[in-house]
Symmetry: C2
Subunit: 433 residues, 2 copies
């Protein structure tokens, strides 16, 4: 069985690889027309898609899945309209492929250009939201990449229908219909095939909780971009405006608690704790937030529950927040370095030197000065679409838009240029001689 | 033993991590002064370094190491002067850290800046050239990174002496002396510790042959940048200038055969084969090159030996080259896609459409039009120094200079900005709600 599944996976992956070669050089007009064809086909096939989705939903109900998860899984004609509209929005975005990132004429007359090219085949591992199937395919197609999609097995019928509709819509558009691929099978094994497909798949983007991401990093030989885990902190400096600090904290925690850029911890300088904590704790309580505090926070209110070591690491994604009093800005930085996930941290301060030091020392994808952590987002940053928020340092860090789905290639044009002797430069380059 | 070695490794890695936090925010002036202190100390300690090196050389001789490898391993006062001069050259290069890569004011008034920051701790696995120990440390230091160095065990005494001198030189410069670290131990295990140090080491750059690089990619949980394997091809198009094509081919193959951007294969269009091959084979023969050709190449000379499937994959690094006649440009591209290592390919042609098609379809880090493959090099590209040539697509592709040793961070400055409701954008971002 496993052998058969692996054969089947390799067959699909090789077709994806082949499609990548055909997709990479296509001009924007062809890709945009294909995206519109996909959007039209999704709307036209809404009944068929909803029917397939109904079997996923029925299976989920039989398995006792929560209503919340069933809502995320469910498709309706209206939701399919919205998904199609998002595809049209992607078509309207600029094409990153072909952009000259840098270019100049070298002293010897060679023309050097570094141009954006697609990554190739992008593997995406995600959970039970079928809209991701279409969103990811559209972002990949626009950036010239083939999408190898591996959604949750709970949405397999929906995803099969959606990918079938998209593949059929691509026929005749100039974009290979193999440019959108569903990883065959629903077993744990099928994910492993994707993780071991180095040479066929260029990058893997796992979307989900920390344990999924860790297992992918552990097992994958394909390069991985880690996304989405957010244990974000708000630091209230000694020199903060108290009202602003309370507003930012409440917004960061409660405006949408279930997302990765919501605050999960706040740290307050001891010098301002007496002024800040009563107001902050009252405001959080009014919003239904449970505060998990250290002893010095708990001294301000009996409602604060005792924080454990686990609370400092927690990504609650709920109306909970960890809280600690610190004696210095550097102690806040040390706490963030130790427990944070490198996503987003905010400082609230009127002190320019404090802001500068916090920005310099905090090692996270985004650092906010006097703004809510909730602004770390591709749409807010003006990218128009987001494939995820990278919390690692290689390739892309922070919100990833279409350019982050590309690599580059150097194009060097000469007139018969030959290499002569040149003095060695510092470095550890390839010379084995 | 292994447990002790692992403890020892973790102790060093944690000190490296700590040093990274101190090194990242340092201004250029402090880093440059530290580099000059390192250069001065290397020259002043030449006798001590040469003595340590002599014990590596003696051990290598006892082991029957070739004179060629012993030459690569050997240090002399003159070579140490040259190594120190390279460190001073790195000091003279611009500092990539702090550069604003992009910046604008968002519609809501938030100021957004994406700035370059160091990667953190960079692990480098390399072979028996002790100059790499210093070159790598200097490039890392200049880009604000801590270097965790793991050279060949054959150079262990030399590397221990070099790192000792560098660490001592950093005392009092403001750069933490832990910013340069040698991985403890010489066993295979000690490399594994480095490969599994996710969270402590930010990136691993293996330098060496394909088998070393493959084993690192296979076993590492730390993100890896693959470098240096070059199976580069020259394609002689139907519309080539024959003299230019012969000159480029001979230069690409013979100017320095042992390096990764030397040509290992040439492909010639059938329409020009009768004009090109006699001249090319004679010119290569005059330079002592053995051609491994297919039947159509062999028809032109009895000196051409029969190419096997292995020859198409070979990175000879010697005076050998594989050769094949193709019927179309697309057949040349298909050959390169199948057998190439994605390093550098060249086309020789007077046809603009042929050049354009070759550049668009070839999926390699660098594509040369009417120029030798030998130009793919950080020094030639004007980067001033090179940490390696990436043959992968993530993070960096092609010659890597100092900016490729950095990541970025978003700095967002507001005046108490709070997030309001915004319409959802396309994407598969972190929203779990």
């Amino acid at each position: 069985m496993s052998d058969h599944e692996r054969e089947e996976f390799l067959r699909v992956a090789r077709r994806a690889r082949e499609a990548a070669a055909g997709l990479a050089p296509l001009p924007r007009s062809v890709k945009d027309a294909a995206l519109h064809a996909v959007a039209d086909a999704l709307v036209a096939s809404a009944a068929e898609i909803v029917k397939a989705n109904a079997s996923d939903v029925a299976r989920a109900r039989d398995n006792g899945t929560s209503e919340y998860m069933i809502d995320r899984l469910s498709l309706s004609p209206e939701r399919i309209e919205a998904i199609a509209a998002a595809v049209r929005q992607v078509a309207a975005l600029p094409d990153p492929v072909g952009e000259t990132v840098r270019g100049n004429v070298l002293p010897n007359g060679l023309e050097l250009r570094q141009v954006r090219v697609p990554l190739g085949v992008v593997g995406i591992i995600y959970e039970g939201r079928p809209n991701v199937t279409v969103d990811a395919a559209a972002l990949c197609l626009k950036s010239g990449n083939v999408a190898m999609l591996r959604g949750s097995s709970s949405a397999f019928d929906s995803n099969t229908a959606l990918v079938g509709v998209m593949q059929a819509a691509l026929e005749g558009t100039g974009v290979p219909s193999d440019a959108v691929q569903l990883v065959p099978g629903t077993s744990r094994e099928s994910v492993k095939h994707l993780m071991r497909a180095r040479g066929l798949v260029d990058v893997l983007i796992p979307r989900g909780g920390a344990s999924l991401i860790n297992s992918v990093v552990e097992e994958s030989t394909v390069p991985v971009i880690e996304t989405g885990v957010g244990n974000c902190s708000v630091y209230v400096d000694a020199a903060a405006d108290v009202d602003m600090a309370v507003d930012i904290l409440v917004n960061a925690k409660t405006q949408r608690p279930s997302v990765c850029n919501a605050a999960e911890t706040f740290l307050v300088h001891a010098d301002i704790a007496d002024a800040f904590l009563p107001a902050a704790l009252a405001a959080l309580k009014a919003k239904g937030v449970t505060v998990h505090g250290d002893e010095r926070v708990r001294a301000h209110s009996p409602d604060v529950v005792e924080a454990t070591e686990d609370d400092w690491y927690a990504e609650y994604l709920s109306l909970d927040i960890a809280a600690r009093v610190v004696d210095t800005l550097d102690e806040a930085v040390a706490h963030i370095r130790r427990y944070g996930s490198g996503h987003t941290e905010a400082i609230v301060t009127t002190s320019q030197p404090a802001a500068k030091r916090f920005v310099a020392l905090v090692d996270s994808a985004a650092v906010m000065v006097n703004a809510s952590t909730r602004f770390t987002d591709g749409e807010e940053f003006g990218f128009g679409a987001e494939i995820g928020i990278s919390t690692q340092k290689l390739h892309a860090r922070g919100p990833m838009g279409l350019p982050e789905l590309t690599s580059t290639k150097y194009v060097v044009t000469g007139e018969g240029h030959l290499k002569g002797e040149t003095p060695p430069a510092p470095g550890i380059g390839c010379s084995n001689a």
